[in-house]
């Protein structure tokens, strides 16, 4: 039996500590891990909890991130609760195994502390790794602060392990901005948290020898397509279950989560669509702009990046005149990946808003309230003109000459 951990009603935790406390409360059976900045403390803390009897689990320190996810796959197929954490290069090294984990429908929870991808080498945050994972068949949830990193990690176990879902889940948080900044966090009591997550209920357990299972069989053109289609269906079908888990979480915590979080959108004329800590910055900017200049600004934040909430994004934005989609990742010769998703959601609406793409904050570059206000005001100018008056894709906060691409064809 695990030792009792002394918890206050309000704790001052950073995002990494918050995520690791969720692993403790869920009593994760196996963590196979490899260190990388800025996610390292999550697994270090798990090791501490094991070393001090707070968790009766196995901490397997492997020799690389590829092995970390490989160990997680083997452990998960052996019928228990499994989690790990990574960032950036580590995430990239895991990439092969991410597909294998989701293809085998293993409910591993991966805490991804977002960080830029080299080259150049950079330990600070952007969303390059989040987007790299976008087709890997994992559910991807996004926390905007430390409290949410904790809450969503608990929800992630409940979602992934649901027998109608059985998919691995990533919980993202912004490197350093969330992971290393201490904030007030209100944890659940241990029993409440554990009861919310529940006992692990294995499916196709490799350690149940009364019913042998084959994991990771080979398929070619005769079955591969069907498997991938089913996997896609499982992701799409997880949407109401995610909503259900969020609703249950509200019952035990009083904190309400949605797959798309809207802020001041009821009467908004212009909007910013964002992920991560930028959401809070944009919310402050929207609030101030309304008070200072009467601009009807709102924020649409994506909590659930996969499965992508197309309907909710469309519903949130269809009555807005002008929208800025903020991509914290290099577009690499295209429009931002996030921009493409949001645009796709808006394409079929009758009163399609004007949409621009801002590339910002790469490698941890600060994103300020002033910058968010500037973007809102630019949206207001588009809305008033009835067309996009600037380049459609712009780099925001870049030193030196401004960088923008693609012009609208006007009138």
């Amino acid at each position: 039996m695990a030792e009792k951990y002394d918890l206050q009603e309000r704790e001052v935790w950073d995002g990494n500590f918050a995520a690791s406390q969720a692993l403790r409360q869920a009593q994760v059976d196996v963590v196979a891990a490899y260190p990388i900045t800025p996610s390292t403390p999550i697994v270090e803390n798990y090791g501490n909890y094991v070393a001090n009897g707070y968790i009766d689990g196995e901490f397997v320190m492997v020799e690389s991130e590829h092995a970390a996810m490989s160990g997680c796959v083997g452990a998960s197929a052996a019928g228990g609760r499994v989690s790990t954490a990574t960032s950036s290069q580590g995430f990239a090294l895991m990439a092969e195994v991410l597909y294998q984990a989701s293809g085998m429908r293993l409910p591993i929870v991966l805490n991804v502390v977002n960080r830029a991808l080299a080259s150049p080498l950079n330990v600070r945050g952007d969303h390059a790794d989040m987007y790299l994972g976008r087709d890997s068949g994992w559910i991807q949830l996004d926390a905007f602060n430390a409290q949410e990193a904790y809450d969503l990690a608990l929800c992630a176990f409940r979602i992934g392990e649901n027998h109608n879902v059985r998919l691995p889940v990533m919980v993202h948080q912004d490197g350093f901005i969330t992971s290393h900044t201490a904030q007030n966090v209100y944890p659940l009591a241990d029993e409440v948290a554990y009861n919310f997550v529940g006992d692990f209920q294995p499916v196709d357990d490799m350690l149940d020898f009364s019913r042998p299972v084959t994991y990771g069989a080979q398929t070619e053109e005769d079955w591969h397509f069907e498997h991938k289609a089913r996997q896609h269906k499982a992701l799409m079908d997880s949407r109401p279950i995610i909503d259900e888990v969020f609703a249950d979480f509200e019952k035990v915590s009083g904190r309400k989560y949605n797959r798309v979080e809207t802020y001041d959108m009821e009467d908004a004329e212009v909007a910013i669509v964002a992920l991560g800590t930028t959401v809070e910055t944009a919310r402050v900017a929207a609030k101030e702009l309304r008070a200072e200049e009467g601009i009807k600004a709102g924020v649409v934040a994506i909590r659930c990046f996969r499965p992508f909430p197309f309907d909710n994004v469309r519903d949130a934005l269809e009555n807005v005149k002008s929208v800025a989609v903020l991509d914290r990742s290099s577009p690499g010769g295209a429009m931002g990946a996030f921009f493409n998703e949001v645009s796709a959601a808006l394409y079929t609406t009758a009163n399609r808003p004007l949409v621009t793409n801002f590339i910002y904050g790469l490698g941890g570059r600060d994103f300020s309230i002033a910058e968010a206000k500037r973007i809102f005001k630019e949206q207001k100018a588009h809305a008033d003109a009835g067309y996009i008056t600037t380049d459609i894709q712009q780099f925001s906060g870049l030193r030196g000459p401004t960088l923008g691409f693609f012009q609208t064809k006007r009138g």
């Binding site: 059976d29 196996v30 196979a32 009766d56 689990g57 196995e58 397997v60 320190m61 492997v62 020799e63 690389s64 590829h66 092995a67 490989s70 160990g71 997680c72 796959v73 083997g74 452990a75 998960s76 197929a77 052996a78 019928g79 228990g80 499994v82 092969e96 195994v97 294998q100 085998m104 692990f200 357990d205 490799m206 350690l207 149940d208 020898f209 009364s210 042998p212 299972v213 084959t214 994991y215 990771g216 069989a217 080979q218 398929t219 079955w223 498997h227």
Partner: protein, 317 residues
């Protein structure tokens, strides 16, 4: 411990049908013989992981499986890690009492080809052994990447031709020495390491049993002649294996706790490597006069290695 007693080959080979014959390995492929020996030498529950390669693609083609036990394949390089993850989960669940049958003995086994063991998966294997998981890793050493059409691996011997170590008018094929994987794994501190061969089936089964009984990570390299890439008639697999062990190209021996070396098979009549090579298409070009020195070099290396093994056996170091 549910180790099966081995009286005669007939009983042994029909002991336990946990590896179904209806797979699609080539007729004459030694992989299946080795896998059957492993599965027949114990009645314990088995969790088996397999690297990508001939064995994997031929035995679990959806919706079929040859494995009447828990089996997992993830990738080309990481079978050692998958099985070590499962082993860690077993420990955690046994402590918590959440297993279906908490007392049944379970053995963890990984199979890799020489490509996945000597090359791409070496890091994963090294890590899993260093961490001391209780599992047995068995390398099916056919000295090439058979599944992708016979490319060189670092297990391919000098002088063999492969699809990426070509023999031609300017080349005699592979030029680099085969990695000494057994010594490398013994140096990891693995408590039981061996090189075994399916023609010496009794010593192979006993070696497997020792590895399964030994707590901690054990490593076994098995010669696994590949009729397709070595180019011999499928009916000759065991005959070729006889030549491999009698020429000492594949000496059969074990190393216990990194120092106690025991030779498990001493050929009464040691044959030349030339005789072994002559029976296989992959060495055909070496029989041209200009490549004679290659055969001589291989013979010299084999003699020296046999000497070394005997000296180590005597010295217990």
């Amino acid at each position: 411990m549910a180790i099966t007693s081995i009286k005669n080959l007939k009983d042994f080979s029909t002991n336990n049908d946990r590896f179904e014959g209806a797979h699609t390995l080539c007729p004459g492929c030694a992989h299946s013989m080795i896998v059957r020996e492993l599965m027949n030498c114990t009645d314990d529950n088995l969790v088996i992981s397999t690297n990508t390669g001939c064995l994997e693609v031929s035995t679990a083609v959806y919706p079929f499986t040859s494995w009447d036990t828990s089996w997992i394949h993830i990738g080309f390089e990481n079978a050692a890690t998958a099985v070590s993850g499962a082993e860690a989960m077993h420990k955690a669940r046994k402590r918590k009492g959440t297993l279906k049958d908490n007392d049944a003995p379970v053995k963890f086994v990984a199979f890799g080809g020489d490509g996945s063991t000597f090359d791409i998966g070496f890091q994963w294997l090294s890590g899993a052994v260093e961490r001391g998981h209780d599992f047995t890793y068995i390398c099916l050493d056919n000295e090439n990447y058979a599944n992708t059409g016979g490319q060189r691996s670092s297990a391919t011997p000098i002088g063999a031709t492969t699809s990426t170590a070509q023999a031609g008018s300017h080349s005699y094929g592979k030029k680099e020495k085969k990695k000494d994987i057994v010594a490398i794994m013994a140096a990891h501190g693995a408590p039981y390491v061996a090189q075994l061969a399916p023609n010496k089936w009794k010593s192979m089964a006993k070696g497997f049993q020792k590895a399964l009984e030994t707590e901690g990570p054990c490593f076994i390299n098995t010669v696994s002649p590949c009729c397709t890439e070595w180019k011999f008639d499928p009916k000759d697999t065991i005959g070729i294996t006889d030549l491999a062990t009698d020429s000492l190209m594949f000496p059969v021996y074990e190393i216990i706790d990194g120092h106690e070396l025991n030779i498990l098979y001493r050929p009464k009549n040691i044959i030349t490597v030339e005789e072994y090579m002559g029976a296989q298409g992959r060495y055909k070009h070496l029989f041209k006069p200009e490549y004679r020195h290659v055969i001589d070099q291989v013979q010299k290396d084999v003699n020296e290695y046999w000497d070394y093994l005997q000296r180590r056996e005597e010295a217990r170091v």
